[in-house]
Amino acid sequence: MSRISQKRGIVRNAVICVASAGCLVAAIGQAAAQSQRPVSADPAAVVKERETTMKSMGDAMKKISAYVKNEGGTVEGVREGAAAIRQASQKIAPSLFPADTGIGRIDGSEAKPEIWQQWPKFEQAAARLVTASNELSSAADGGDRATIARQFGQVGQSCGGCHDDFRQKKN
């Protein structure tokens, strides 16, 4: 092999190497950008699970309100409801909102794109519910009606505050 062709070979290989490295870096960058928030294997199933989870929290709040309003609810019911909300609220940010489950991506989704555009703010809103539901659980254990009522209000504010910013009801 002549020196010239050897040089050419080195140049060509270098070009290929640099180009492919560039492509690789670009590809990694793109993947990283997309994976800022993970997607799900089955977005439709996640939306279904999300709605079931939210509904279970609503049912629990309803149960607790029956006690708060003195309409036949019991402290035991409050305790169960508070535990259910606490468990459900911990799932929200980690697993119920993958990036491909927003309005327009999945039929029937009520999740606004702001969730993923402002993820830290969304995470904060979810964390607020975790904290509030923990406090509601403690209040339920304590059994003092006024404290339960106050913490019930705090949980409600967490729900509503998040719905104000991040949810668009279908109807």
Partner: protein, 290 residues
């Protein structure tokens, strides 16, 4: 029906550091205290404060509408950038006729179409309350509205077309609770501004009052809150409506959103239980529209 939480001795201080509902509007001899109640009933805080972290009432809150983005102005007593130095008459003209002290017309995103029904006494009390708030120097941000809606010189024509007579006349066969509810919904609370459909010029469709809107704030749908049992809230009990206004929970355990939570937090949770019941009583008589 009493306010459950208040009956338990729990002031519904839902907002951080919130205050217990003050006395009813007619009570008390301190105009500032009375004005605070009107201020809460009208929910002024939301549109005139940029964010929870921003200086209170110093303006800058973006309001996206189908006509463009408006920015709520500074209503602190700052003489340069706020409403310091306004007379009571200036204030009443602004809230009833939608005109600033120099005669310039306001865009109806400022709901003077509803506030014009407020009584003189309530407007003067509200001004007394605003005058007592800390002055903040913060210049107003210009609105960002597309033509022709941004053409301020057209506003007097709009006002001539759509501003109805002020004051709510008594209706035969209605009791004081209903009257109070109507006043809170139509005048102070200006509920119809979001919950009623608008015509192409942005005027409320009074024939379909509270029948919901396809493009409310931010162009998003706002629900029907008439007595329609299918589309509206006709199948809610008065207690369920009052409880939603107090805490944001709907009969199915779900919590309001889309801006309504802010209304609950800044406004309806701070009213007296009697006033929330009055709103409920009135809403259940609003004919189905749409």
């Amino acid at each position: 029906m009493a306010s459950w939480l208040l009956r338990l001795g729990v002031p519904l201080a839902l907002a951080a550091g919130g205050v217990a509902p003050s006395m009813a509007q007619t009570a008390g001899d301190d105009p500032v205290k009375r004005g605070e109640y009107i201020f809460d009933a009208a929910g002024c805080l939301g549109c005139h404060t940029e964010s929870k972290e921003a200086p209170r009432l110093a303006g800058g809150r973006a309001l996206k509408t189908p006509f463009g983005t408006f920015y709520g102005p500074n209503i602190t007593p700052d003489p340069e950038t706020g409403i310091g130095g306004w007379t009571d008459e200036d204030f009443i003209r602004a809230l009833r006729e939608g005109r600033s002290p120099d005669g310039t017309a306001y865009f109806p995103v400022f709901p003077y179409t509803s506030f014009r029904h407020l009584t003189d006494q309530d407007l003067r009390d509200l001004k007394a309350y605003l005058d007592a708030q800390p002055a903040v120097s913060k210049p107003n941000r210009p609105h960002d509205v597309s033509p022709p809606f941004g053409w301020r010189f057209l506003l007097p024509a709009w006002q001539a077309l759509f501003l109805e007579d002020g004051g709510l006349s008594p209706e035969p066969g209605r009791d004081a609770q209903w009257e109070r509810g109507r006043y809170l919904v139509q005048a102070a609370g200006h509920c119809g501004e979001c919950h009623s459909p608008r015509n192409f010029l942005g005027a409320m469709d009074h024939g379909r009052m509270l029948a919901g809107s396809a493009d409310g704030p931010e162009g998003k749908p706002v629900p029907n809150i008439t007595s329609d049992s299918e589309k509206g809230i006709g199948n809610w009990s008065p207690g369920e409506i009052a409880f939603m206004l107090e805490i944001g929970m709907m009969p199915d355990g779900d919590f309001v959103g889309g801006g309504m939570n802010e209304v609950v937090e800044n406004s309806t949770s701070r009213l007296t239980a009697e006033d929330r019941e009055a709103i409920a009583a009135y809403l259940l008589t609003v004919p189905p529209g749409g």
